[in-house]
Symmetry: C2
């Protein structure tokens, strides 16, 4: 829709509204919600991991013991006890006064954008990067610049080349990244934090998946290494449940007050009832018992997907990665990143895969520019082990039938 | 904080961050949270009206019958059943596809600002107006223009004078307005909707208090008269509880898709669990039984405040409204609007009133420009009847001691 006034309508849209678009993923998810489709597309935690009985108990307790406060308006910062619990769980010393409870970590991205991005401000992102971050930043009209990334994370030298004066921040998701499942290694983290400090470049570190490691915890967060130079975003969506919409951010004193004011203007505060329910569930170290069960489940599902891919995908005998499908082995999180043989396009393959009964997200959606059309994102957490087997077999059939004929 | 880079800090704030300020009311509420202070300041619904038992039952039901969906990610539009319930309750024909569930109606204001306001866009507001709306609009850097208002609502001729080409909308709160408690009468509503249509001026109608009428329902909403020219904002905060942070908006097809995309970028969706709990509570016509009890309670508290003011305030024998305190009689809602005798200033009076044990909000906070320094907002819903008596007596003592000596 154009911003020029429409003479049949009194509505004149803001210029930024032109930057807003329906999420590609959202549109794909609609198609793939047909009954019977096995979906590797959505980033939906397995419902088996939701601690339903604990939530039920906590709802009853909060409404019995603290209803008047839980149901009333409350402070924009968040519920004090939950804020303290968040501070205690973080692996560096954090003043609770620098923690803000948000309506999911998606809201953290919205607040960061409002407070830090002017029209045409350069903002650096990984290649590829989380689509929801691009959507949250877009209304503030940044100039998004992609930084080359490899399996260890952001390429620090390319970062230096792409950085210009006035760059507002680098957005980075170091643990089990969405979409690639990649983890930034220790050496890269150290190098990135050092280079960013030299450049005077703030980092926005998004860590929704960090607790979901399979064999060993990831290296310490970037923010732990330079708290004054980083904003850290966390979430309860992957360790408890997304449907309560609670996350948090940790920000240095130079930006916290403005983030808090932006929060207050955005929705006054996140639901006080939900905050108390989560605090009640977390009491007594619940996450220390619960999260290992999520890790074990997701690890078994990743393993199933890896062995099904190795078993089912055509071209296993090909050495040349252009002649076969390739994929990585994430050390945690929810996603695996795959690449089709040369000459294939993930967007073109999707409807054919859906016809076979399986869905995925074409990787192109996650590139701010120059998409890799062969890439695709496979979530291994939503379907069951049996569904993963059948889904990968269906995907392999679609790939086989649509592979270019080679000499 | 200035936007120029601080050489000790890598953080450069967006220009809009300069427009963000801590809420005056928030700062006042902090002062007045001292134990023992009777507060007429906050706009907090009476906790007596929260249907705690119904919430407890609904939480248990939702977690027993629908946990996997309630705790999962879900559609940005909102929970289908709740959307339909909202459509059914609205007093005009609304397609559920034009309803968006929001994280409190405050988020509705944030989304409207993002989608409709460019930097320097003229936006019209009542005099005085809801402070939270000014805060939600501010980050998008509008040029706020105040339209003269009287006890029947917006002055339509002044609106015509203040309207210029490119004005994005008039923000208006027609029922039991915050801060004045005023209700726009039928003739004014008809005239406003007609004039706005002639001018090609969209209306943003905020209606958080409309259900809280005391003797008779207010006239039909502005939006009911011209749905294509209005965005309507509603809330569950005043009829159920604010702590679940749920509201909704109704928007014409010309703007709905962009509001939905802005919603998705802002927090993906409002908590699905809370939406199901509210839908479960509302089932079977609960609000038709519950809301009359809120009306009766608030009416009795308004009456108590009116009689206490008449009994306690000095200068009852004065004919000249400059020589005494004056106040209005709201037909519903939560607030009463009062005015100090000439020569007095509500901001100066506040610390003296707090010393006497009572707090209020100086009216100046609600003016986009040229504040009336004699005005103040008194909430009659948070304190009990006994506290209203004592609070008004304390306020009267503070006024008496600080009145200018007249000849």
């Amino acid at each position: 829709m154009k911003q020029s006034p429409n003479h049949n309508s009194p509505w004149q849209l803001a210029r930024r509204a032109e930057r807003m678009n329906p999420s590609v993923i959202r549109e794909i998810l609609k198609i793939t919600e047909r009954p019977g489709i096995i979906s590797f597309a959505g980033g939906l935690p397995s419902a088996k991991t939701f601690p339903v009985a604990e939530f039920a108990r906590a709802c009853a307790t909060v409404l019995r013991e603290d209803a008047a406060a839980a149901l009333q308006y409350s402070a924009s910062e968040g519920y004090g006890k939950l804020v303290e619990m968040v501070a205690e769980r973080l692996p560096w010393a954090v003043d609770p006064g620098q923690i803000l409870i948000t309506t999911g970590s998606q809201q953290g991205l919205d607040l960061v954008a409002k407070v830090l991005i002017d029209s045409d401000s350069p903002v650096l992102v990984e290649t590829p990067t989380y689509l929801g971050a691009l959507q949250a930043f877009a209304p503030m009209e940044p100039r998004i610049v992609s930084v080359r990334s490899d399996k260890s994370g952001v390429d620090v030298d390319d970062l230096t080349r792409k950085h210009v004066a006035g760059t507002r921040f680098l957005y980075v998701l170091p643990n089990f990244q969405n979409p690639t499942g990649r983890t930034m290694d220790e050496a890269r983290r150290a190098a990135l934090v050092e280079r960013a400090a030299q450049l005077g470049l703030p980092l926005v570190e998004d860590n929704p998946y960090g607790d979901l490691w399979f064999d060993a915890p990831p290296p310490p967060p970037l923010t732990a290494r330079n708290p004054d130079g980083c904003i850290y975003l966390g979430s309860f969506s992957k360790v408890l449940a997304p449907g309560l919409r609670l996350g948090f951010l940790v920000a240095p004193k130079a930006v916290f007050p403005k983030l808090l004011q932006a929060k207050q203007a955005a929705d006054l505060h996140s639901p006080g009832f939900n905050q108390r329910v989560i605090a009640d569930v977390m009491q007594g170290g619940f996450l220390d018992r619960h999260v290992p069960t999520i890790r074990a489940l997701y690890k078994s599902q990743r393993d199933e997907m890896l062995s099904a891919l190795a078993r089912e995908m055509p071209g296993a005998d090909q050495e040349d990665p252009d002649q076969r499908m390739t994929w990585n082995k994430p050390d945690g999180g929810m996603f695996l990143w795959a690449r089709l043989p040369k000459g294939m396009d993930a967007i073109a393959l999707l409807p054919k895969a859906v016809d076979k009964g399986v869905a995925f997200v074409p990787g192109a959606a996650f590139f701010a520019d120059s998409p890799d059309s062969r890439s695709l994102r496979l979530s291994f957490v939503t379907p069951s082990v049996a569904e993963i087997e059948r889904g990968v077999a269906a995907l392999a059939a679609a790939v086989r039938e649509n592979m270019p004929v080679t000499a």
